[in-house]
């Protein structure tokens, strides 16, 4: 008994292993193979080696998509992290009204990316949108601003909507972290005459270090794969202004039916995901992440 493997135990892990091997690992390896094919998914495929890789990098498409993805990543972190941290700390406070606020703050968590995307597309609609009606009534700007149809604005607007969707989740993380900070630390600080800023920077922030790391890892790895919202809001447009890596992959493979090019982008996506995870774990220590994950 105890620690030995027997056939029953092999049988117990079999379902998980089979599912994962067939529908996750095997497709991952196939993606690498497909990236060397010239294939539309229907007629017979032709092996072209690294030709797809060459063309993706030569015409700058991959680099453009990578750059947009990096922009979304940095911007997401810059917007989501400070707001989530402050909202989380605010909610961890003792006052009764903060708990009430919290009930409303987390409501966006209940909706799917598609639902959120559709809603915001109506709010921002240049013809009958809520935002322009509001701005018009306040005499700000001239109305009819095409928020999502403007090449320079679209990516920023999309990233802000993504932030709106995910800040509640990260606020929840920080609230949990902030609630764990022992009261004795704050009491000691008050006795030492610390004001509210000292307390925040010398107690709250250092105590939230691991929550900050966890949340940041999730923001960074998450922003690599934003797709649903972008699909609903802009479909990668206007032009290719919001064609991030995941969007580019989808369009190449399922719109242009170019399985080879799409797979090149898919492989880049996978490699980026793994590198990002390794870097963050190296940089922060896997044990910290593990200790965060323990005990729910």
């Amino acid at each position: 008994m105890g620690t030995k493997m027997n056939w029953q135990r092999w049988l117990m892990i079999a379902p998980a292993v089979v599912f994962f091997a067939v529908f996750a690992l095997f497709p991952m390896l196939m993606a690498v193979y497909y990236s060397g094919l010239q294939w539309n998914g229907i007629s017979s495929a032709k092996w072209v080696g690294l030709a797809n890789w060459g063309s993706v990098f030569r015409n700058g498409e991959a680099l453009h998509a990578l750059r947009l993805t990096a922009e979304v990543m940095v911007l997401s972190w810059v917007v989501q992290t400070p707001i989530s941290l402050l909202v989380g700390v605010f909610l961890a406070g003792r006052q009764r009204h903060r708990a009430v606020f919290g009930v409303f703050y987390f409501v966006p968590l209940l909706f799917s990316s598609v639902a959120i995307g559709v809603t915001w597309s109506y709010i921002l609609n240049p013809n009958f949108g809520l935002l322009d009606a509001l701005l018009k009534s306040l005499h700000i700007g001239n109305g009819n601003q095409n928020w999502l149809g403007n090449t320079h604005l679209a990516l920023l607007v999309v990233t802000l909507i993504i932030a709106w969707q995910f800040i509640p989740f990260h606020s929840l993380l920080y609230q949990g972290g902030a609630k764990q900070i022992p009261d004795s630390l704050y009491e000691a600080a008050t006795i030492d005459g610390a004001n509210v800023w000292n307390t925040f920077f010398s107690i709250t922030l250092p105590q939230l270090k691991y929550t900050l790391i966890t949340s940041s890892v999730l923001v960074l790895t998450g922003s690599l794969t934003y797709f649903d919202l972008i699909y609903v809001l802009t479909d990668g447009g206007p032009g290719d202004a919001t064609t991030v890596l995941a969007m580019d992959m989808y369009k190449q493979a399922f719109v242009n039916q170019n399985i080879g090019l799409g797979s090149v982008l898919a492989v880049i996506l996978a490699v980026a995901g793994v590198i990002l995870s390794i870097l963050t774990l190296r940089f922060t220590g896997f044990n910290r992440m593990e200790s965060q994950l323990e005990g729910m």
Partner: protein, 292 residues
């Protein structure tokens, strides 16, 4: 003695006003809190208000205020447009996915924790690498595979890959939880010659219940809101799930925003109800063990 009395007196005096005093920064925080309340909650309120408007009311009324004549006709329209069928599809896909993910993960987690076999350790490490693999990176071969299996445009075709990609995180969380069960408990039951299945049933499952509930909720939300699998792996009306239904409503009722908003509200119904009746469980499940 006397000095001590004075001391306690002084501290009591110090504490009393501290609780009552309205500090300027608390006023500022609350004001900022209200600003965030508007940003975070108003769009959801707008969804709800718009879904209760008539089409004329939407085009002619004041968009940021509730309608003077709220109506449920949009909800009726959505229900007549086959909504119940899509809803049921979503339920089937989500429930089957959750059952398979949690079931397979629990069996696997138990073996990972209990055995010292090197191969099992390697398998677990491979699952951990799976945490870093985005679904998008594998969607093209998944599409080819599901098509070749003859499962394109079926609910099962969505369930199978959802299970595969739900496993890594669920497994990791359950392994961490099962690991915390003290060894003595296994030993004491093991001495009585209990089999693995008995240990699972009478020891692990009862103790891991909170974790099982949390991961089930997490996996349910993931499956319920998943968009990429249905987008790529289904096309017809018969296999349409909730997110796809919203997109098709949006295309069908291009100018009739209130109808789409009613669909959006209804699409989140299970989570809205869960939030009303079991907010704490839902939020804990949403964190999936990332928070403590």
């Amino acid at each position: 003695m006397a000095s001590q009395v004075i001391k306690t007196d002084a501290s009591v005096n110090l504490r009393a006003p501290r609780r009552k005093r309205l500090r300027w920064y608390n006023v500022v925080f609350t004001a900022l809190g209200v600003v965030w309340l508007i940003i975070a909650f108003y769009p959801v309120l707008y969804m709800l208000m718009t879904s209760l408007r008539s089409q004329q009311g939407y085009l002619l009324g004041i968009p940021w205020l509730p309608s003077l004549h709220p109506t449920f006709e949009n909800y009726a329209t959505v229900l007549q447009a086959g909504f119940a069928h899509y809803f049921l599809n979503s339920v089937i896909v989500s429930v089957c996915s959750v059952a398979l993910i949690v079931g397979c993960s629990l069996l696997c987690a138990y073996v990972v924790v209990r055995s010292r076999n090197r191969a099992v350790r390697v398998i677990f490490d491979v699952f951990l690498v799976g945490l870093a693999l985005p679904i998008q990176a594998a969607i093209i071969p998944i599409y080819v595979l599901i098509t070749k299996m003859g499962l394109y445009d079926t609910l099962l075709g969505m369930i199978l890959p959802s299970v595969a990609f739900g496993l890594p995180l669920t497994l990791l969380i359950l392994v961490n939880f099962v690991r915390d069960i003290p060894n003595e408990l296994y030993e004491s039951m093991g001495l009585e010659g209990a089999s693995d299945f008995r240990l699972l049933r009478h020891l692990v499952i009862p103790l891991a219940m909170p974790a099982l509930i949390s991961v089930s909720i997490y996996d349910f939300v993931q499956a319920w809101n998943n968009f990429l699998f249905p987008l790529v792996l289904t096309q017809s009306d018969s296999s349409r799930v909730m997110p796809m239904a919203i997109v098709s409503f949006q295309g069908q009722y291009t100018m009739n925003v209130p109808v789409t908003m009613a669909a959006v509200i209804l699409s989140a119904l299970p989570l809205i109800l869960a939030y009303i009746f079991g907010r704490r469980y839902l939020l804990r499940g949403m964190l999936a063990g990332f928070g403590k």
